[in-house]
């Protein structure tokens, strides 16, 4: 069963930005795109355990702050080495200005 969790308010995330969200001892990254769409991926880079929310978000791409591996945060696709494994993604919705993610 899908477990919808309220993560933050939309306004907590800068446009073209990301924040870290920890839940049940797991860590996620929640992104706000340039078009105000909201996305959620696993929080750590697949190359090394680095929090992606510290990385630069440009358009729909997040870049790992350590080794510059890059992902499309909408699909989780690894776009640039050294990251070669895709990120897991999670569905999101915005309800009354709150961001909810399905972590099932």
């Amino acid at each position: 069963m899908t477990d919808w969790v309220t993560a933050c308010k939309l306004d907590d995330i800068e446009q073209e930005g990301a924040i870290r969200f920890d839940h049940n001892s797991r860590t996620y990254a929640i992104y706000r795109g340039p078009d105000d769409s909201v996305w959620c991926t696993a929080g750590l880079c697949t190359h090394e355990a680095i929090h992606l929310a510290d990385g630069l978000v440009m358009d729909f791409e997040v870049e790992c702050p350590k080794h510059s591996g890059a992902f499309d945060y909408r699909t989780g696709e690894a776009l640039r080495l050294p990251a070669c494994e895709n990120l897991r993604t999670y569905p999101t919705e915005i309800v009354n200005g709150e961001v909810r993610v399905a972590l099932g």
Binding site: I50, D54, G55, E63
Partner: protein, 401 residues
């Protein structure tokens, strides 16, 4: 058909092997490495977790087979002949090449003093294991060299409970590539953690129980590590008559002085627009030069133009430097939550940037600064200094200009 041969299976050589495939080369690729086992990443070597030195493979072992890369581990190239276009291995085997890449890296500079052989070095996984196996809580360690490796090592060892002494002939730590005010902050942090510094001091002798300094001071140590820099591995190139200096000299497209032989990574000194040669020793340089060299080995003519970039982790502090900050540049400082940025302007143009702060807290801004530099931006120093101004907006206006 003769294939591509790469000598050196560190970050650079390994990356080049895969980059050749990505760029469309379907002929043979042979990667020759002197160390046993699968090629591994070096950055984790100075950052063990719970005393365990991670041997993180650069790629999964099966990736070589999948990409049709012939990887020869534990194998040393004895000589190369640019006329017959062959490499001779230690076992006598002769490998002909179509194009050759020298990615031979660098080796630690040896300490020249009495007892110098007692000092361990940190370059390979085996080196790291030897150091951390001997670094025990309560047993003093002397680190000779207050550069990035020496300082990273000091931060790990003191947290492991070893008394740590850092010795350097320079009057301050991190004088080479780190902005001086960040170097001073890191120095203070090390002192606050209990690291003892002996600066402006030469080493007279390394004994079984410590290090005698030139002024007569004795630094007790059960373990001595020399971290006084590296020298490029140019032996093969020099013996084959290639032009060498501080590294294997290359043109802007990473070609050596011999036809069909390229050089990249720590061993390569690439010509700069002002005619000088620049040799870099960073993870990023190893990878990006590998990619440029691979494309040029396949007939392209791309000059290597990546901006130098490196990072260093000490305690919970992360340092990142993009470009080459120089004291003569105009420096603009910007405070950040948990850290600080420094921008460097040369005649109004942004040419370098650095950040120091908790964890990766400055990484995003350093990356944006790097993009501003590559865009040729001439930002208003007042805007750079103002934390309320988003660097992304400066980037958008720079790109629109």
């Amino acid at each position: 058909m003769n294939g591509m041969v790469i000598i050196g299976a560190g970050e650079c050589g390994t990356r080049a092997a895969f980059a050749l495939r990505e760029a469309g080369w379907s002929g043979p690729v042979t990667l020759i490495g002197t160390e046993p086992g699968v090629p591994y990443e070096r950055p984790p070597l100075s950052k063990p977790r719970d005393g365990i030195v991670l041997r993180k493979p650069i790629c999964p072992p099966e990736a070589f087979g999948n990409a049709g890369i012939h990887y020869l581990a534990d194998c040393t190239a004895r000589s190369l002949d640019p006329v017959t276009k062959t490499v001779t291995l230690e076992n006598g085997e002769v490998l002909p090449y179509h194009r050759l890449l020298l990615a031979t890296g660098a080796t630690p500079r040896r300490l020249i003093c009495r007892g110098g052989d007692r000092a361990l070095n940190l370059r390979s996984h085996a080196d790291a294991e030897a150091i951390f196996a001997r670094a025990l809580p309560g047993h003093p360690v002397a680190i000779i060299g207050a550069g990035l490796i020496g300082m990273e090592l000091a931060s790990v060892l003191i947290r492991n409970g070893a008394p740590v002494h850092v010795i350097d002939t320079a009057p301050a730590p991190l004088t080479r590539a780190v902005p001086s005010h960040f170097a001073a902050q890191l120095h203070q942090r090390h002192q606050a953690e209990g690291v003892r510094f002996h600066l402006g001091q030469g080493v007279a002798e390394i004994g079984a129980d410590g290090v005698a300094l030139a002024d007569g001071t004795f630094v007790p140590a059960d373990l001595t590590v020399a971290a006084i820099g590296v020298v490029p591995e140019t032996g093969l190139a020099k013996a084959a008559g290639l032009a060498t200096g501080n590294g294997i000299l290359t043109d802007a497209e990473l070609r050596s002085s011999a036809p069909d032989i390229f050089a990249a990574g720590d061993c390569a000194a690439a010509v700069q627009p002002d005619g000088s040669h620049l040799r870099q020793e960073s993870w990023q340089n190893a990878r990006t030069q590998a990619e440029t060299a691979a494309r040029n080995m396949l007939g392209e003519s791309q000059p290597y133009a990546a901006l130098p970039w490196f990072w260093s982790d000490q305690y919970d502090l992360g340092l990142q430097v993009a470009g080459q900050p120089r004291p003569e540049y105009h420096m603009v400082r910007r405070p950040l939550p948990g850290g600080e940025l420094a921008f460097y302007l040369n005649a109004g143009q942004l040419v370098a940037a650095a950040g120091l702060g908790a964890g990766n807290s400055t990484a995003r801004e350093v990356k944006l600064a790097e993009m501003l530099i590559l865009a040729g931006a001439r930002p208003d120093p007042a805007l750079l200094a103002d934390s309320a101004i988003n660097l992304k907006s400066l980037l958008k206006s720079a790109r629109a200009a």
